[in-house]
Assembly symmetry: D2
Homo-oligomer: 331 residues x 4
Amino acid sequence: MNSFGRLFRLSIFGESHGPAIGILLDGVPPGIPLSEEDFSADISRRRPGAKGTTLRHETDLPLIESGCYKGRTSGTPLLLRFQNSDTRHGDYDAFIQQPRPGHADYIAGVKYFGCQDARGGGHFSGRITLGLVAAGVLAKKILAGVTFNSQLLGMGDGGNTDEAMTGAMAEGDSIGGVVSCRVTHLAAGLGEPFFDSLESLLAHVIFAIPGVRGVEFGDGFGAASMRGGEHNDVFVDEEGRTDTNHCGGINGGISNGNPLELKVAFKPTASIAREQLTWDFEQKKMAPLCIGGRHDICFALRAPVIVEAAVAVVLADLHLIRQSCLRGCFS
Amino acid sequence: MNSFGRLFRLSIFGESHGPAIGILLDGVPPGIPLSEEDFSADISRRRPGAKGTTLRHETDLPLIESGCYKGRTSGTPLLLRFQNSDTRHGDYDAFIQQPRPGHADYIAGVKYFGCQDARGGGHFSGRITLGLVAAGVLAKKILAGVTFNSQLLGMGDGGNTDEAMTGAMAEGDSIGGVVSCRVTHLAAGLGEPFFDSLESLLAHVIFAIPGVRGVEFGDGFGAASMRGGEHNDVFVDEEGRTDTNHCGGINGGISNGNPLELKVAFKPTASIAREQLTWDFEQKKMAPLCIGGRHDICFALRAPVIVEAAVAVVLADLHLIRQSCLRGCFS
Amino acid sequence: MNSFGRLFRLSIFGESHGPAIGILLDGVPPGIPLSEEDFSADISRRRPGAKGTTLRHETDLPLIESGCYKGRTSGTPLLLRFQNSDTRHGDYDAFIQQPRPGHADYIAGVKYFGCQDARGGGHFSGRITLGLVAAGVLAKKILAGVTFNSQLLGMGDGGNTDEAMTGAMAEGDSIGGVVSCRVTHLAAGLGEPFFDSLESLLAHVIFAIPGVRGVEFGDGFGAASMRGGEHNDVFVDEEGRTDTNHCGGINGGISNGNPLELKVAFKPTASIAREQLTWDFEQKKMAPLCIGGRHDICFALRAPVIVEAAVAVVLADLHLIRQSCLRGCFS
Amino acid sequence: MNSFGRLFRLSIFGESHGPAIGILLDGVPPGIPLSEEDFSADISRRRPGAKGTTLRHETDLPLIESGCYKGRTSGTPLLLRFQNSDTRHGDYDAFIQQPRPGHADYIAGVKYFGCQDARGGGHFSGRITLGLVAAGVLAKKILAGVTFNSQLLGMGDGGNTDEAMTGAMAEGDSIGGVVSCRVTHLAAGLGEPFFDSLESLLAHVIFAIPGVRGVEFGDGFGAASMRGGEHNDVFVDEEGRTDTNHCGGINGGISNGNPLELKVAFKPTASIAREQLTWDFEQKKMAPLCIGGRHDICFALRAPVIVEAAVAVVLADLHLIRQSCLRGCFS
């Protein structure tokens, strides 16, 4: 299903070229100052326009349809709705006949028995992440005092970013990238030992972001080739601090008070300017496909704020759950 | 919380040195042939004994306490319980005073306000995965016709496995490893476009396995340095088949009918034979720590069947959900 | 939280005098024909205007914001949004100072620490049930072939309805009522033996309707004064049919294929025309209160379609779950 | 599914004549003193033996299999297991051929496609409520300071209880009853305005108890024939206290700090000593049925502690959720 969370709960909706997209947030604590302008900073970080991102205009801020009164959250479900505009229906009509490689065109038809709204990728569009970014704004307000640092570590082969962009653009191609997120001043004790481990919950939401191919914590895949004596983080004081942070701030599925550190791999944009060969369901044979329209050469450029939002919504939920423990315990 | 699943739902319980560990399965379809012996093959795959795994005896099969009648599942909740034995309480007493690096000793105390059962890692013990492996047996019965191939791709620096083990053992150290899982004959259409994407659900359960540091699908982190024209899988027939499988069998969060492929990074075993320095909460200073007892040099050796179980329980749940769609749709 | 359901999942939102109210539906099967006009019949049944209901205009139909394409459900989350209009803010300002007896004014302040939108009852308004009624329309489409018969059994003391209305109106008072719902051609096998018994799920949603004070199935409270030999329904054929239906169509928490029968008690409308005494939080003493505005004398008049919707959404969810069993079973 | 709760989560399992029944509790706060003897008082209240209840021995206390260490809850999932004994398999064999009126024999066969464990009612047995009663013990520990008063209000036609019992027994019949539960010193603010209203959650769990036919709050069905001026509870002080309690301590789905009051209707025991006519699936015609074994004449006699447990588990969950709000809010 398309919702997530226990006490801070998100339900996402919308198609790229339908009337609106957005997100419904349940469990937002009452009394948080909130206006539509509060979303502008993060939505700007996600906005295309820089080199390598699309030229489509997305100036929109969400409309707050419920759950907010006199500039503060009221505690009831909060609906954030983004009206769609500046859409070009014709761009996408051909993809029912000839599904784009690397896209959900084909599988959406299987999943929804041909009833899907295929325009602009429909519900599979990257545009749907606008709602997640907006939810992240609320989540970060709940997590007052916690700091986030998210960035694009590298694109393409990891060499000079501009050269990678320029090279891909010249060849009508696209490139992937790796995004890191580091969270500091996070309380210890968030997460559960098994099914709701902190890594489990974070990876759950991060892998919901279109185009994510891998998630790792701390040393991640590098840990597989390390020795235990090298990977173990030694506790150096009463607060559980460690000088190294190979585990990325998590022991046994639970935040240990050191910085939370994770990395996310994004695949290259599936839509590329140059011609591709793929199956044509009308001609019943392979046929060349040209994807028009405007597309990011590297959508990982937009991804840091999206990954940050994914991380924040999980942490906000766990923060609220932890509050219940801190007051509810009997020890 | 320590449960997972929508229609096929797992709830795990138990401490390593408490009376019992196990798992409660809800939503098991009725009529599946089942006996306690059905668990022996997978539990043997998980069992230590080979070079590099501990010598502790774990011969146990689960007791089926409910949900099974006359050799078939009855459709009601199914409790699988493993009685604990061969435990050595004294081994672990010191770790409350001096938490082991890389273990949950410290964070368990924070999380549970000092009330945790610390013996043998308690609920954080790798032994808890026995229940997951048992659940995987049921899941694979639900997924009749689907085939799983899970293996340890490499240990340590990826060179010769025996040399890596021998080297680590000689130095009283441990090593990590990477496990792959490949699933074939899986139906297309499993998973949801956003929060319950197939990657999201799989990563959620896989990251619950103690010691996992990274999860990737298809080309995974490698995709970040690829071009789109290289990474896109071209559809070559009416069934959505592709000659390449860079996406690991998933488009838009949904299985596309091609093999599901993923890799999991395991950190090196945290318990190592040689002395480590760590904080001593009684002496209030750093002090040397020696961890006795029996420990795996590379617990990734046991991990393939555990990863496979994690994958299977997710797929079984999605298979049941998909059945509902196939009959419930109106198109 | 303000959502419900497993495979057919509802999330409700909105305040009476905020920008909009509505409901988000997840898990709607694809391919169901749907237009905004499909909601008009049921929304008309809920609409005030007749004797005993308010004169406030509620002509609105929902806007379908997502999840619907070319006149059919697309399978993705479906947002139904009702824009608010014809609201009178001034009517309600005094109720923060002096909470209305029988209303949520007081408790909303406690629950939300004074941050609630109190206008028109805010999220507690009966208007919020518009979303439930709209969800019921979808649910009944999912339950093709199942028939619903919901009616107001009686108002006030159960005597002549018009006399009861006229009497209450003359005295500036209000009256309660009992609503029945009977569902026929429902499949056997819906519901679970324990926590998700059919009665449990139905009562859960029905008790969410503002003003419900009691729910009973079959003979209900009358069963408490019956003998077993009188209450037991005797099976009379291979289909599990019974000549009597004291159990209301449910055995062991599961629909048995006979008509589902239940009754719902509604309290009298809390807002009455005549003066009441209640606590004044500014004057810090008891003080008289006059509630202006337009209010139903008996809102149970509107309730049959709301109860029917509550029943339908539960049954639609269970129908989808049952589909999964019918295909997923191994017997 | 057979589980319930958000932060304090229950999963029930077991068949009457299988190896064991019990309950798994997740989200139990750490540090609560707990021993097996703590269950004896409530289990004794549920135990048969008095006039009108069965003579079957149920002396058992639960075994605490996990989640408890050194006499205190440890914070991890807590498994309570009751071993079955003193069962008589032969008593129930005939009921597959000839389902007992008022029992789940018939519907269990439909639901589980003939795979159910029918012995002693299997998972539908009233014995399964032992787990709920045990969960109630934990719940009441979490709700320190809250007091519960549960009693059987009346049996049969509401006249003299002993006469009703004696009369029914003499005629080989059974009788129903009504149970009340009153909870005092409960905090205000528990429950949600819509789907998780306090009444919704309470009714959900109460209707899971076998044999419940109706649930009402405050004046309940009586409210339907009242006037608003009569039913409204007038606030008389700053604490929201009311002199009357027609609403049963709930406004808008949320506890208002006044006593919580509810009533539950139990049907007469389905198993009666005298002969009944019902369908015979082998003879394919109606045939007489005699139910041997030991059965309660009025199982409502045992029900007060079960209803109390149902109420307590809901309140404990809401108490923990409320703790999170109290600390998490921003007002």
